[in-house]
């Protein structure tokens, strides 16, 4: 179908920009808004939706994004607009400033369109821990969309928005992208400013994109990447034009398959799809090599020490004093207890307790310090592997979308959903999930590609080549 005969909500970001350049963004915004409004009661992808008035009138047409809608995960601050991290404790919290990525989106002419539901404070892999109701997977409303950026992924998959920003601490962009059949891109740690991203695990968190195509990711990455003097961890490295990287060519690329990624627990259908993807890439001229990332089995454990340690500290500020919820009590101590008891959900409490424990006197060396050492070993694994290959590929998630409630009572099973995505966060390297097939039940499966730090361009090129060859993105959920 040509872009003019399809409903506007089905457009890619690229197509929408082209149309908006001549006709303005209003019709697109209207179509997307109507679609989002109609579907949100069933999908619950958005916590807040407005009619999406394009920012800045006709001036916006001179800007790269031409007023097209882009949605924001609810842990990214927008000045003057309620931002809650899907938590009760931040209900009514209105940030007094824009996150750097929001500033950049505005400056580049995006229309900020709705705020996406998520796991509370990004704690989860199913978007079930939101204090404002679970998000449902557009491919099967009885299943989870993945998480924590489940709202962003579901909204893009269901054509309720054209593209969205998410955040990825242990797989929170790639895993829901995989489960919802969209493209999820996590840049190198430091590539995109974290200023204004409400922190979960500060040394892991990275803002990235959820889009319908790899090209759309490149368009958004061009806008949001770059050094930010307000974020000391942001990298002062030049940003190439990522859309220029989108050549259909993987000829001669060396792609490594880590043997540790094809193990027990990996769903056979997922394994099959990924193996099929391997054959496709080989057919396109890539060299596929087996590599080893020997410390992969420790990744989840290490992540749930270091990330929760940081989280327990990052969440200390939600104490009822300055912002968000305050439960009045007889004294300060009780105010703290009651506010935090009422404000945080179960998973948030679990992680705060875990993080507090691993940092406490007498346990620090055994957990946190040792965890950091293992993290270095994981990083070294990748460094060694990248001496032999240009990219590493594997499954994004061990399974396709699981049933709502299936893992909600079993945190360990839930944590293992991120087993293949966590290593990239431990190492800080860029990674993408791109659709690579469907299960017999019709659920999407994602292929994960990882690259050397700051080699986003190569990652985009390989993902784009694979996507254009396989065209899984053309299949849409029926809603």
């Amino acid at each position: 179908m040509s872009e003019t005969t399809r409903p506007f909500y089905q457009l890619t970001l690229k197509e929408a920009i082209r149309i908006a350049q001549s006709k303005g963004p209003d019709e697109i915004l209207k179509a997307v808004w109507e679609r989002a409004q109609a579907l949100n009661p069933r999908v619950n992808a958005f916590l807040r939706l407005d009619s999406g008035k394009p920012a800045g009138g006709t001036a916006v047409l001179q800007k790269p994004l031409c007023g097209v809608p882009v949605s924001i995960k609810d842990n990214i601050c927008i000045q003057g607009v309620e931002t809650t991290c899907a938590s009760r404790i931040l209900k009514g919290h209105v940030p007094p400033y824009d996150a750097t990525v929001v500033e950049k989106l505005k400056a580049n002419g995006a229309t900020l369109f709705g705020q996406c539901n998520m796991d509370e404070f990004a704690f989860g892999s199913s978007s079930e821990t939101s204090a404002y109701g679970v998000v449902r997977n557009p491919w099967d409303l009885e299943r989870v969309p993945g998480g924590s950026s489940g709202g962003s992924a579901a909204a893009v998959a269901a054509d309720m928005t054209l593209a969205a920003l998410g955040s990825d601490t242990g797989g929170s962009i790639r895993q829901p992208a995989s489960l919802c059949g969209v493209v999820g891109f996590k840049p190198t740690y430091g590539r995109v400013s974290r200023y204004g991203l409400i922190a979960f695990g500060s040394s892991f968190d990275q803002i990235g994109t959820l889009t319908k195509t790899v090209e759309d990711s490149a368009i958004l990455l061009n806008v949001i990447s770059g050094h930010d003097p307000r974020d000391s961890t942001s990298a002062n490295q030049p940003v190439p034009d990522y859309t220029q990287a989108l050549k259909r060519d993987v000829q001669g690329l060396r792609i490594g398959c880590p043997k540790e990624f094809f193990v027990e627990g990996l769903d056979p259908e997922v394994a099959q799809s990924v193996e099929e993807a391997t054959r496709t890439l080989k057919k396109l001229g890539a060299q596929i090599k087996e590599v080893t990332l020997p410390h992969t089995p420790y990744s989840v454990a290490v992540y749930y020490i270091v990330a929760v340690a940081e989280a327990s500290s990052n969440l200390g500020r939600f104490d009822g004093v300055e912002y968000g919820l305050r439960v009045p009590a007889k004294d300060l101590r009780d105010m703290y207890f009651e506010t935090r008891d009422e404000g945080f959900g179960q998973e948030a409490k679990r992680r705060i307790l875990l993080g507090t424990f691993v940092l406490s006197a007498g346990y620090y060396d055994a957990y946190y310090r040792k965890g950091q050492k293992v993290r270095t070993l994981v990083r070294d694994d990748f460094e060694k592997a990248f001496r032999e290959v240009d990219l590493i590929m594997g499954p994004t998630s061990p399974t396709a979308a699981f049933k709502l409630g299936e893992k909600a009572e079993d945190p360990l099973a839930m944590y293992l959903s991120d087993i293949f995505t966590i290593p990239a966060n431990l190492a800080g390297i860029p990674a993408v999930s791109v659709p690579c097939g469907f299960t017999r039940a019709g659920l999407p499966i994602g292929l994960q590609l990882m690259a050397r730090p700051f080699d986003e361009a190569l990652l985009l090129r390989a993902a784009h080549t694979f996507e254009q060859e396989t065209e899984f993105f053309k299949k849409m959920p029926v809603l």
Binding site: P96, S232, T233, G316, D319
Partner: protein, 483 residues
């Protein structure tokens, strides 16, 4: 009672005099309207991130170098986690594992018997950077408290001494020396009233001769150097009495009450916070380059100790005088400016320490604000040196200069205070004095030397102090011997 030896270590928090806060661009101005100097970062708003103030880092290194510290080549910040409403993020960004300044030392002068001074080397454990917290306001608020975050995020340098101090006086001297160095470095205004210099003290006692340390107690709420000294005195006595009575001292934090002159238990070790320190992930570790350290080293001025040695050598001052003068950089600057006017340095030192400081203290101003500027004081001293006025007259002229801002010469001329050097006039007065004091003259002749002093005094009185005392003395002796 047994002889007990106190072991004291001090923790000093110094506010660094940067224009903006440690991790954001907010002003550090004191006394602004509550919460005016705030932004998302120092308010700890969700999503905000810290960025290190380079000037604060330079100041910290400068202090480290001046205190002979090993400046760390790897700088890392840590989070100190605890809940309190004045702490917006529920953690303080501080330095735990890798303080910017490691071990160093400073020399202090312990006053000995009859004006002598004993130098003592005091070890510095560390001097690290951290951010200040806000301030709780309780007064006049019925229901709860208010918080002012203007102070939150202001850079502090925490200077921790080794437990090398052995008396409250030594602790006092250490603080005076440290303050003096910080003032010379121009890194802090060291104003205790505004809280830019704060001190906590750790103290334990042990029987003299014992090498093992006793159980230490931390004392907080010390609002002046004198309070530190008094609280230590009190605490040493309290602990010595307890040991004497075979009571067990518990490790705890105690608060000093200035009004009651006592310390009170605040919390025991068991109740102490577990701060759960860990590396601050929002600030990546970095290296302070050797050239930067050298650049900072070049900005360190002559420090009090070296200045005292130079002042003794160049101007022939006593150790005590030099010590007093150089302690206050502004006072030493004043002294040297005076001396540059080519007047006698010893006279200048005496006049500053006795007369000028009295006036300045009385007026509660700093010497730099004194209406009598160095050239003015030099002018007065010059009049003494060339016998235009006596020292006694000069003592009346100085307050006049201080009050009116006029020069010494102008006042002396206006009030006709020029010294009487006409021997004939003095002789006339001297004769009258001899006649009127026959009894005293008799005493002098019978060998009582003090009698002469009295007679000179009478001459001075008759001439309203204008007679040159030296001349009066000579003339009297001449007349008394002649008759």
């Amino acid at each position: 009672m047994m002889d007990y030896e106190p072991v004291i270590g001090l923790e000093v928090h110094v506010q660094l005099a940067t224009k903006s806060k440690l991790f954001c661009g907010c002003s550090t101005e004191f006394g602004s309207e509550p919460n005016r100097n705030t932004c998302p970062v120092c308010f700890g708003w969700p999503g905000s991130l810290p960025v290190l103030n380079e000037q604060a880092l330079r100041f910290a290194v400068k202090v480290g170098l001046a205190l002979n510290c090993r400046v760390s080549d790897r700088i890392q910040f840590d989070r100190k986690n605890y809940f309190y409403p004045d702490l917006p993020k529920a953690y303080q960004i501080s330095q735990f594992e890798m303080p910017i300044n490691g071990k160093g030392w400073v020399f202090i002068d312990i006053p000995g018997a009859n004006g002598s001074v004993e130098p003592q080397k005091v070890g510095i454990t560390r001097a690290h950077l951290e951010e200040d917290a806000g301030k709780l306001l309780h007064e006049g608020i019925k229901d709860g408290s208010l918080v002012d975050y203007n102070r939150a995020g202001i850079p502090l340098l925490e200077i921790v001494s080794e437990p090398d101090l052995r008396s409250p006086e030594a602790a006092y001297e250490y603080l005076v020396t440290l303050k003096s160095i910080l003032e010379y470095l121009e890194v802090s205004d060291c104003n205790m009233e505004e809280g830019s210099l704060r001190c906590d003290a750790n103290v334990s006692v042990r029987p003299r001769g014992e090498t093992k340390l006793g159980t230490k107690v931390e004392i907080k709420n010390l609002n002046s150097f004198k309070a530190v000294q008094k609280a230590l005195q009190y605490e040493i006595e309290r602990q010595s009495d307890m040991l004497e009575n075979r009571e067990r001292i518990v490790q705890e934090t105690r608060l000093w009450s200035e009004g009651k002159g006592q310390t009170f238990s605040m919390r025991s070790k068991e109740e102490a916070h577990d701060y759960r320190y860990f590396p601050e992930p929002d600030l990546v570790p970095f290296t302070v380059s050797a050239p930067l350290i050298e650049e900072i080293r070049k900005t360190i001025p002559e420090l009090p100790e070296a200045r005292a040695r130079r002042v003794m050598r160049d101007f022939g001052l006593s150790e005590y005088d030099a010590h007093v003068l150089v302690q206050d950089k502004k006072l030493a600057d004043y002294f040297e400016a005076c001396v540059r006017e080519k007047v006698n340095p010893k006279l200048v030192s005496n006049w500053i320490q006795s007369e000028l400081l009295a006036l300045v203290h009385q007026a509660r101003i700093g010497v730099e604000e004194c209406p009598v500027q160095p050239a003015g004081l030099a002018g007065l001293i010059r009049l003494i040196e060339n016998n235009t006025i006596s020292g006694k007259i000069a003592k009346d002229v100085l307050p006049e200069m201080f009050a009116t801002g006029k020069s010494a010469e102008a006042i002396v001329n206006e009030k006709r205070l020029v010294q009487m050097t006409d021997t004939k006039l003095i002789e006339e007065v001297a004769r009258r004095v001899i006649e009127a004091n026959a009894k005293v003259v008799q005493e002098f002749r019978s060998g009582k030397q003090q009698a002469l002093g009295f007679l000179v005094g009478q001459v001075m009185k008759e001439t309203k102090g204008k007679a040159n005392p030296k001349l009066a003395n000579e003339i009297l002796v001449k007349l008394l011997k002649a008759s």
